[in-house]
Symmetry: C2
Subunit: 216 residues, 2 copies
């Protein structure tokens, strides 16, 4: 028999890989992508720099894993929020609320995963994340549009613009840092009203929809 990992070892290896990922996520959440450096990740995970390469072939793979993790988590949350809404328009509102609210709560991480460029190879993964978020929104917009709840429009472009408005108006460096949870809630609601109006919902209706959506 050659050599076989004990179950114990397997567990430890898995735990270590997880620890590396967690360390990278934490660093990204604190200092953005530029803080995700092999030496820093290793130090945070209490291992040596070389050890990281036993688990990830390159830094890009590690960062890719970080983005994929965030992406999966956020998409799931968005879908879950939208799926529990009673109608197409409130589903759209709920999806936007989930994306915007969660992004604002983890602002730096969201910025790092969505917008902060790193490397051309990484950019592709980050783009996938953006595209996935936009596609999810686009599907909800399309659903509302086919039911005549929204005017005719280029659904893909509209979704991209909404993502941009949220990113820039809420989590981007230009957006004001909300002082307290109340201010954050108001900021999310304001951006939601704008997003819904941008898609063609009338002002009063948009405010009504926003008032009904449960914020995270």
């Amino acid at each position: 028999m050659p050599y076989c990992r004990t179950e114990n070892v397997v567990r430890r290896l898995a735990a270590r890989e997880q620890a590396i990922l967690t360390a990278a996520l934490a660093l990204a959440g604190e200092g953005g992508m530029e803080a995700v450096q092999i030496a820093a990740v290793a130090s945070r995970a209490n291992i040596a720099a070389g050890t990281v390469y036993r688990y990830f072939p390159s830094k890009n793979d590690l960062v890719g894993e970080v983005i994929a993790t965030v992406s999966a988590r956020e998409l799931t949350a968005m879908r879950a929020a939208a799926d529990t809404a009673p109608g197409p328009l409130s589903a759209l509102a709920a999806g936007i609320a989930a994306f915007a609210g969660r992004a604002l709560a983890e602002r730096k991480l969201a910025w790092a995963a969505l917008a902060e460029p790193v490397d051309a190879a990484i950019d592709v993964l980050r783009l996938d994340f953006r595209r996935a978020i936009a596609a999810e929104l686009a599907a909800r917009i399309e659903a509302a549009r086919t039911r005549q709840l929204l005017p005719e429009q280029d659904v893909g472009a509209a979704a991209a613009a909404v993502v941009g408005a949220i990113v820039e108006g809420l989590i981007g460096p230009l957006a004001p840092q909300p002082a307290d949870p109340g201010a954050a809630r108001e900021a999310v609601q304001a951006i939601m009203v704008m997003a819904l109006r941008a898609l063609g919902v009338m002002d009063a209706r948009a405010r009504g929809l926003v008032a009904q959506v449960a914020l995270p």
Copy 2:
């Protein structure tokens, strides 16, 4: 008398500084900020790398100058477009059109100057540019709002969101590359309709305003 630059020399020095700036602008327009490297800039300006440092104390200063140049040019164009409009709402529309249309025409340069992160020290300057654009929009929004042409809203946040929607929906990596000038014009018009609706202009009115604005 110690040493005094001849007028001729002064002219040559100024021309060379301009050549360096122009080279940097061209490189940014072609390959984004990462293409702006001292060696490349020098080569493009037909000088040696070291010479760049006779004119700019550091690369950051050079990049800062590039951004400031773009910023001044774009702000001027935006103001000029808005100022010739007949009323507050069409001034707003004209400003948005100028920003969006010009950004789309020089997509890579706009992206480099607006969004592509480089260095923390540079980010500050880039932020100033974004802030200036947003402030210009905010002033136009405020003017329309005080005349009851737009609903009550947080003008600063609204302006930031509009900038985000334009950047993301038009010049960001997610935006589709317009195949021809006609497609580009349509893309600009679509984003304008969305921006105006987001600010509280009714759908039909927004389309009317957009139809009247002269696109660059």
